[in-house]
């Protein structure tokens, strides 16, 4: 019987045997020679790119390419009328770029479960609204915006009800933030289980959010001096009440109605959700209806029975709000391997780094499972609590690699190795797994999820 842990922390059974083997990667000699190569690569990568054409000269093909020689259908007849799609849809050729689910990760149904964002297909730092990961606790609610009411009460100067229109009359801000379920990657606490980036790290997405800073609303209404905790509750059938400290509400938390330039999608809490930048996805209450202020925390079901991290002592960490510094290489990955490459090809290694604690400062990558590291380049906009892209251009020698990334944020927290993390918190935490993800690249260019960990069974 293979016992594994689903993302809700339930132990599940699977008919198979659990007996992972520890294997040494290769001889010391091999590693030593590869180490030399990496050092050179790190220093000379720029000149390598410049000379790559000379190293692998282009060849002509034997016969002409029919994709060029023949006239194509879409070039020889009228296309669609511009009015065909009043709300545009992706190219039908992109039909495989979709959210996916695994029935094993649900409570037996498709209402209280998660769909994974196809981050192996993600471009830049914005997730399209139709691909943003979804996590519901009682199905996706469809709220009538005319009946939307937001109640703000408790330890405030006045108990207030706002309509959607009134809320939107507050001055808005637009910011780019990731949202990550803290169970992202949780199936790998005990051993690698998914050979797939979408299921390993797809419980997160990033978007440009528009709304009002909660601080603006709360300063308008006025808080009592002993308002220390805030409860946020949704109007859907699960409600998903969660407690956050007022300090966060007065820092960067937002009430958002816009997502990537349009209204929130129903799956993201239309018409209004709470946005708590960098913190557990579960705190970003969807279909928001109520904010209550108090001098005591609430201890809801999602902050006692779930979203708590059981430690080796038998005690559990609670109110673990932040998603820690993290990164993953998205190209290559198991779904996007290097099987089209040949020895000597130049290829960009690309990935995503993020930290709920602040802004990404560095990303390092390793080719030998973490023995030696070089610094990658950050790429594009570098914003706090947002996905940040990193890049490293490599001339691949066609030999196997153990490829991994390690992010550092601006409070100098460093993404841990698997052993560094499990030594601190054990393997039963369920949530907040941010250890290095390692891809094993084979000579054929196939990519596999592996762990670098001292694991004796």
């Amino acid at each position: 019987m293979h016992r594994y842990q689903n993302f809700q922390g339930e132990d599940m059974d699977k008919d198979s045997k659990m007996s992972e083997e520890v294997k040494s990667l290769s001889t010391d000699k091999k590693i030593t020679s590869r180490r030399d190569f990496f050092k050179k690569t790190a220093v000379y990568s720029a000149s390598l790119v410049a000379t790559s054409a000379a190293l692998s000269p282009m060849k002509a093909i034997a016969s002409d390419d029919p994709a060029i020689i023949n006239d194509v259908e879409w070039g020889t007849k009228l296309g669609d009328k511009v009015t065909k799609f009043r709300y545009g849809v992706p190219s039908p050729y992109e039909h495989n770029n979709v959210r996916r689910n695994d029935p094993l990760l649900s409570s037996g149904d498709e209402y209280a479960t998660v769909t994974m964002c196809p981050i192996h297909e993600s471009e830049g730092i914005i997730t399209p609204n139709g691909l943003f990961f979804t996590r519901d606790h009682g199905g996706t609610a469809h709220v009538d915006p005319e009946q939307f009411r937001l109640m703000i009460h408790g330890k405030v100067k006045k108990d207030v009800v706002l309509t959607l229109q009134q809320l939107k009359r507050y001055p808005s801000v637009t910011r780019t933030y990731f949202i990550e379920c803290p169970a992202n990657g949780s199936t790998d606490w005990r051993a690698p289980q998914y050979n797939n980036l979408q299921f390993l790290k797809g419980m997160m997405s990033s978007a440009q959010w528009t709304g009002v800073l909660l601080k603006t609303v709360l300063e308008d209404i006025g808080l009592e001096a002993d308002a220390v905790w805030m409860l946020a509750e949704g109007s859907d059938n699960a409600g998903n009440p969660r407690t956050i400290p007022v300090e966060k509400a007065l820092d960067d938390a937002m009430l958002v109605w816009g997502q990537n330039g349009e209204a929130l999608r129903p799956e993201q809490g239309y018409p209004v959700r709470l946005l708590v930048p960098g913190w557990e996805g579960n705190l970003n209450t969807k279909w928001l209806k109520r904010l209550e202020f108090s001098d005591k925390p609430w201890h809801s079901k999602e902050e006692t029975s779930k979203y708590t991290m059981l430690q080796k002592s038998g005690k559990a960490i609670r109110y673990f709000w932040i998603n820690e510094v993290n990164s993953v290489i998205t190209s290559p990955c198991p779904e996007k391997p290097w099987t089209d490459l040949k020895k000597g090809d130049v290829v960009e290694i690309e990935g995503i780094a993020w930290s709920g604690h602040g802004t990404i400062k560095h990303v390092d990558i390793t080719f030998d499972g973490g023995d030696n590291w070089v610094e990658a380049s950050l790429k594009g906009l570098v914003l706090p609590k947002s996905w940040t892209r990193f890049s490293y251009i490599l001339k691949w020698d066609g030999k196997p690699l153990l490829l991994s990334s390690r992010a550092v944020d601006d409070i100098d927290n460093v993404q841990p190795t698997i052993d560094q993390e499990t030594t601190a918190v054990g393997v039963e935490s369920v949530y907040h797994r941010n250890a290095n993800v390692t891809w094993e690249i084979t000579e054929k260019g196939e990519v596999h999820n592996v762990h670098i960990r001292k694991h004796h069974v």
Binding site: V98, G108, V160, K315, I322, T359, D364, D410, E421, A424
Partner: protein
């Protein structure tokens, strides 16, 4: 270990030196994005400086008041404010409806109370089909609610850091894990039963909570509960959960409410508490690279994984059929899940057996309940006619 300090990367070397020297003068980490390490999560707090918040430009006009919205009424607040806390805040005295106490024939407020026996009946009718008899076993992936042992919480399944990996995982059930009974009352009342929450009265919620606490061996002032035990606010406040002290940091600091928040800030501000890396750059692993490959792959992906760029198979256009929406709202949680044991919609054989009894009998059973299924599947808002439409849809979809 060859650390970053020794490495001759000009760029990173300068960056590190800069932040280290600022640390010396200001006592906190400062970056070039107007941030300090003072956020409540122990991370960076960014301020608006020169009209910018990090990389974002902002409107910094000062406005005293926006004065939006209106004052909430007491009844409105009572209708929505139904949360329940460990100190008894929000735990109801009376049955409530639309934010007001329910009155009996004499105009008296109806006390919210329910017996373990009533809870058992309600549980069997509305909960057992998913959570199993006695809460002992989740059916079809739904959580088990009882049967946990607090001693199991320190079990680590195959923890590589342990010399003797444990083969029994921790059992985080109501009695073994949940720190407060108030959470149970609140969650049942607000979010259960799963297909139609907020349908239980406060009395029924006390009854079900009492039944589940009894099944978990929870005592009230040292006394075991029996079938006749009546739970209400007064009794509920006497309950102490065995694992109340099983959580940290301490956030219940009534003498100083801000202390609880500070405890978390201190915890999250020190990454050694939850695992942190070192920025070693070379020769970081002494000896062999300990490589662990996938042995038992999970790959039940829906839809199957593909990165092909091609045209999808032509599918017949989906239209919503009569009864389909009601089926999905009220019935599919059980009839869409083979593990529950109810005839699964789409299963030709199962439904051939069901309909062999005759259609009238099928309608009758669905309306009045059969086996683990409560009358109308527990959703009494459905009329008999609604039920017939739903059943017609289920039968048609299973041919």
């Amino acid at each position: 270990m060859f650390t970053l300090e020794n490495i001759m990367f000009k760029k990173t070397f300068i960056g590190l030196g800069l932040s280290a020297s600022m640390l010396l003068f200001s006592g906190c980490v400062v970056d070039n994005n107007h941030g300090t390490k003072t956020a409540v999560d122990g991370g960076m707090k960014y301020e608006i400086k020169d009209g910018k918040y990090t990389s974002y430009h902002v409107n910094t006009q000062k406005i005293d008041t926006y004065n939006k919205g209106r004052i909430a009424t007491k009844t409105e607040i009572a209708a929505w404010d139904r949360d329940t806390r460990p100190d008894g805040t929000g735990l109801p005295m009376y049955d409530m409806k639309h934010g007001k106490p329910v009155l009996d024939d004499n105009g008296e407020k109806v006390i919210a109370e329910g017996s373990v026996g009533l809870g058992n009946e309600l549980y069997d009718a509305q909960c057992a089909m998913c959570h199993g008899d006695f809460g002992a076993g989740g059916v079809g992936g739904y959580p088990a609610l009882s049967g946990g042992d607090i001693k199991s919480l320190s079990n680590q399944l195959q923890n590589p850091a342990d010399e003797m990996p444990n083969q029994t995982p921790p059992a985080k059930r109501i009695g073994s894990y949940w720190p407060y009974a108030s959470t149970l009352f609140w969650y049942i009342q607000d979010s259960m039963p799963f297909p139609h929450p907020k349908s239980l009265s406060n009395s029924e919620t006390y009854a079900i909570a009492a039944y589940l606490l009894m099944e978990n061996g929870i005592k009230v002032e040292g006394e075991e509960m029996d079938e006749d035990f009546v739970m209400n606010r007064e009794q509920f406040l006497k309950i102490k959960m065995p694992n109340e002290k099983g959580f940290y940091p301490n956030v219940d600091t009534p003498e100083d409410p801000k202390k609880g928040v500070q405890n978390i800030t201190n915890f999250l501000g020190d990454p050694k508490n939850y695992g942190t890396g070192t920025r070693c750059m070379s020769d970081c692993i002494k000896g062999e690279i300990p490589l662990l490959r996938i042995k038992n792959e999970l790959n039940n992906f829906n839809p199957p994984v593909s990165t092909k760029r091609d045209l999808p198979d032509a599918k017949t256009a989906e239209t919503v059929k009569a009864g389909q929406v009601e089926y999905e709202n009220s019935c599919s949680a059980c009839h869409g899940n083979a593990a529950i044991g109810a005839p699964v919609v789409g299963d030709k054989n199962a439904w051939a057996q069901v309909t062999a009894k005759g259609l009238d009998k099928v309608y009758h059973n669905a309306i009045n309940g059969i086996n683990g299924m409560p009358p109308k599947g527990g959703n009494m808002d459905l009329s008999d006619e609604d039920m017939k439409t739903i059943i017609d849809y289920m039968i048609t979809s299973s041919k």
